[in-house]
């Protein structure tokens, strides 16, 4: 893959860092549960990107295998998480994360 080689390693990492930072920012500052959830997925995928990049750079398949694991876990998480969100919305009629705090205290 000559094109990929043309893109330097650092670019991937910078992109990954940007995506991850966006995910963190979204997780911290957004109120909507679904947005928070998507932010988490964003972080996971940012990590996946660096995994794949390193895997290619080092000519080792480990990183890609790890990526598959992350994707599987993320899929499972999405299934469970969306089910929870759906139930929360049915019971509370809200998706604001600050109002779903009955576990506190």
């Amino acid at each position: 893959m000559p094109q990929l080689n043309a893109v330097p390693m650092s670019w991937y990492l910078i992109l990954s860092a940007i995506l991850f930072t966006l995910g963190v920012a979204g997780f911290l500052f957004r109120r909507n549960i679904i947005t928070v959830f998507m932010s988490i997925e964003l972080m996971l995928n940012a990590v996946n990107l660096s995994f794949v990049a390193f895997s290619h750079q080092l000519r080792q398949v480990d990183g890609q295998i790890f990526t598959f694991f992350v994707m599987v876990v993320a899929a499972a998480e999405a299934a469970v998480g969306l089910a929870i969100i759906l139930t929360v919305f049915k019971n509370r009629r809200t998706l604001s994360i600050d109002e779903v705090s009955s576990l506190k205290n």
């Binding site: 963190v24 997780f27 911290l28 994360i97 705090s101 576990l103 506190k104």
Partner: protein, 621 residues
């Protein structure tokens, strides 16, 4: 040693230990008969094994040593679990297990009405176990194990009636006073290791034999004096005798077995065992003899004014132990051990007889509430009388032979010691017969209805009485002769006659005061005034110790340790620690607000800090 038969000496120890374990762990569920059978059986088996081993060993010209395993190895020092029998320990073995068996039998009858039957016999068997370790030990450390073990059992048994404060106090007193002696013993052991590099008795004594006699205080004298401190504690010599009279708080069989017949002779045994060391240290020998004399006199004097029948015999034990020390101190080791043997017979008899009286009167111990029991409990009377005659030293009873052996040796050493000893013998006869007369003659002054003890109690009394009559003819001194340098004393009939005369004078004085003129004793006491008060007050030794040691210690503990160390340092330290933990907790509590996003911020901050540190220190590698 070639061709030594393996006699399994450990079995002698094993039987009582097994008995103690069985009764101590599951004895609570057993019937009294079963507990008693286990207790007596284990000690009797041990006695039989002793007899069997000794008959196999025959003449025992050299000690029979059995080495089992290495116990402690530290550098060059090796201490093994080694048992040995020689002529000296064979005698102690027979006395300990033989008299022990009789007392166990008696105790089954005596303790019949008591709570904690199983506990009592478990302790008693445990005591036998430790006492036999003490006797069989081939090195000083193992001996010390037995030494401490019997101290522990003594503590447990003195405090057997632990719901009574006086019993607990007496137990603590015995334990603490003995600790002082043990301190000396431990130092002696350390010094032995330093100077001989071994604790094995054969090695140490062989090495000591090669050293010259010390004319001033050298290593051997120091070791001997330190051993003597230990012996003074265990064998209740001045100034550490104060615990023994209080030890009478325990049940009477305990007083007979531990505080008269066996454990208290451990000090005598250790000194006799270490004769090679003492013989090279004449100064220490002199100290032994003087301590023994002082103890004999002081205790005999106090004994004349006691009203508790057990206290009388307790002081007589102290006094007789003093005699044994005199024997050791003047170099007549075999006479001292001979007195240990005869004393074991007649003192066990006296105590068990006293127990029988107390049993007959339902727990009454005060002589002023007895009297006239001669016809009511005849077997007890006759056996107790035998014991009294034996301790008074009347020919041909047991006490006569051993006491006169000591007195003759004392005369050869220094005549004044003989005279002090003879006067003490007169005092002994006086106070023992005073107790007998107050107890059995005159009018009955008590209220309880006396009854003779059951056969299980008087049979041991009868056997011990026979031994007290005939025990003087046991060839103990000839048997021990090869172990010790022989002093031939002329068998001076005048000296023997004088001591007999003093004994009869003592008996007659008691008869005159307490039988012919009952009630006259108070008059004599009054005319003696301050002297009598000092004697009746036991020379105020306990009070002096209280004022000089116990009180300052308590005071110091209260002001310095309680108000100072405890309140300020410990409490302050604890509260300080608590305060710091609480303050930190308060800070950290703020972090845990329950808001997930703040946690995420902390994680992020942590990651940033981590990365920052990594970057500033130049990357992961």
């Amino acid at each position: 040693m070639p061709n030594q038969p393996d006699l399994h000496l450990w079995l002698i120890l094993f039987f009582p230990l097994l008995g103690a374990l069985i009764n101590g762990t599951i004895g609570r569920r057993f019937s009294k008969g079963l507990i008693g059978s286990i207790a007596i059986g284990s000690v009797a088996l041990s006695f039989l094994w002793v007899v069997r081993s000794l008959s196999e060993l025959g003449q025992l010209d050299a000690p029979h040593i059995e080495r089992y395993f290495n116990w402690i190895t530290s550098g060059d020092l090796k201490v093994g679990f080694d048992l040995s029998v020689d002529r000296l320990s064979s005698i102690m073995l027979l006395v300990v297990t033989g008299v022990g068996t009789l007392i166990h039998v008696y105790a089954v009858g005596y303790m019949d009405h008591e709570e904690g039957f199983w506990r009592f016999f478990s302790y008693l068997n445990l005591f036998m176990f430790f006492m036999l370790i003490l006797v069989l030990a081939q090195n000083f450390l193992l001996l010390f194990v037995g030494w401490e073990g019997v101290g522990l059992c003594s503590y447990l048994l003195i405090g057997f009636y632990f719901l009574e404060k006086y019993a607990g106090d007496a137990a603590k007193k015995a334990f603490i006073v003995n600790r002082i002696g043990d301190f000396g013993f431990s130092l002696a052991m350390l010094l032995l290791v330093v100077s001989f590099g071994s604790l094995d008795m054969t090695t140490v004594f062989e090495a000591a034999k090669k050293l010259p006699v010390e004319s001033s205080v050298g290593v051997l004298t120091t070791i001997a004096l330190l051993l003597l401190v230990g012996a003074c504690g265990k064998s209740a010599q001045v100034p550490l005798y104060v615990w023994l009279p209080d030890a009478m708080a325990g049940p009477t069989p305990v007083s007979a077995l531990i505080h008269a017949a066996t454990m208290v002779t451990a000090g005598v045994y250790v000194v006799a065992r270490s004769s090679e060391i003492f013989l090279k240290a004449p100064i220490a020998m002199e100290v032994v003899a003087v301590i023994g004399l002082v103890t004999a006199v002081v205790a005999a004097l106090i004994g004349t004014a006691q009203n508790d029948i057990k206290k009388v015999f307790a002081y007589s034990t102290v006094s007789q132990l003093g005699y044994m020390f005199v024997g050791l101190g003047v170099g007549a080791f075999s006479a001292g051990i001979f007195h240990v043997v005869t004393h074991a017979f007649f003192k066990a008899l006296l105590f068990l007889g006293a127990g029988s009286v107390i049993h007959a009167l339902h727990g009454e111990q005060d002589l002023s509430n007895m009297g006239g029991l001669k016809s009511k409990i005849p077997i007890t009377y006759w056996t107790l009388l035998t014991g009294a005659v034996a301790i008074a030293g009347v020919w041909p009873f047991a006490g006569f032979h051993s006491k006169d052996a000591i007195l003759l040796a004392a005369h050869a050493h220094a005549p004044w010691m003989y005279w002090v000893g003879v006067v003490t013998a007169g005092l002994t006869a006086f106070y023992v017969f005073r107790a007998i007369f107050l107890c059995f003659f005159g009018e009955y002054r008590g209220k309880a209805n006396p009854h003779e003890s059951p056969a299980i109690m008087y049979m041991p009394l009868v056997i011990l009485a026979l031994l007290s009559v005939a025990g003087g003819y046991l060839p103990v001194m000839d048997w021990l002769a090869p172990l010790y340098p022989v002093h031939e004393h002329p068998h001076d009939m005048t000296l023997i006659g004088i001591s007999l005369g003093f004994a009869f004078a003592g008996i007659f004085a008691a008869y005159y005061v307490y039988v012919l003129n009952p009630g006259s004793a108070d008059g004599y006491a009054k005319s003696l005034g301050g002297v009598y008060r000092a004697i009746a007050g036991k020379f105020y030794v306990d009070e002096a110790y209280d004022a000089a040691i116990v009180h300052p210690l308590e005071h110091g503990s209260r002001t310095v340790l309680l108000n100072g160390v405890e309140q300020i340092v410990v409490q302050g330290g604890v509260s300080g620690t608590v305060g710091v933990a609480r303050w930190m907790g308060g800070l950290f509590r703020l972090m845990q607000g329950g808001n997930i996003r703040s946690y995420a911020v902390y994680a992020l901050l942590g990651a940033i800090i981590f990365l920052g540190v990594m970057a500033s220190s130049g990357g992961a590698r």
